[in-house]
Point group: C2
Amino acid sequence: MGGQTRYEVEPIGVIHSPFMVPNGTPIQPVYGGGFEGSVEVFEPFRDALVDLDGFDRIWLLYWCDRAVGWRPRVVPYRDDVARGLFATRAPGRPNPIGLSCVRLLSVESGVLRIRELDILDGAPLLDIKPYVPDFDSFPAVRSGWLARSDATRRTADDRFHREV
Amino acid sequence: MGGQTRYEVEPIGVIHSPFMVPNGTPIQPVYGGGFEGSVEVFEPFRDALVDLDGFDRIWLLYWCDRAVGWRPRVVPYRDDVARGLFATRAPGRPNPIGLSCVRLLSVESGVLRIRELDILDGAPLLDIKPYVPDFDSFPAVRSGWLARSDATRRTADDRFHREV
């Protein structure tokens, strides 16, 4: 098993953000509070946006098209020792699918206005899902090395965007 | 734009669960409390699992390989009227990428034991990310039609697995 099967994903839209380069981009949506962006959903997928405006937050799944390859261990933004890649949210992954929970401001004519984002401008959108506290919110769980880290970095550098 | 670009994803493992068919499978991980499953990570990706065991919960991204096509509006498990697909967590999506926050019990020799799952047996694994409350937990946000729904269904039927 493994290695043979491949699946194809197709962009259903594009994310517009004020962040043109990794340097200085918030490392997570919660650190992108003051910034706004938008999600342009392509025409064939717009009818599926009905009812989304009742949700305060949405999950965006997108292709990290600027990430360059992956390594099994990386030094994350919030630490100074290498950690296993799957224990980090670094963008360079075997399947570089980004996951961000952003605040939804409005939905109009296939364009979502969003706030609190950490996504590079032009990222291809793969999916939108509603954020549902009953399914997604677990305030009190342990968060491993991140809980022990006293790093307070809130913006990225180019460490995940250089050639491996 | 849209329509031309495609990206390829490659399974990095496979999810083993007690759920063989959609009928009766929990509709979300939180309703799969009593059930255990496992995630088998393929050898080339195992070194990236280091440090993951410090997290109580993890995100699994996987390919919903049993979902059949997509429709812009669907009647979700928790409602009796059609809703916009992107305002639901239905598995049949333009890019059928499933997202589940499961409880992590152990990591050993490339196998994760997990609890609280809603995933069909054999689903191809695409990514693992740590669940970080600071990034992912928003207990008090509005959840649209789901908040107004008084449906209490906790298990699936085959509505998303029949031909469109």
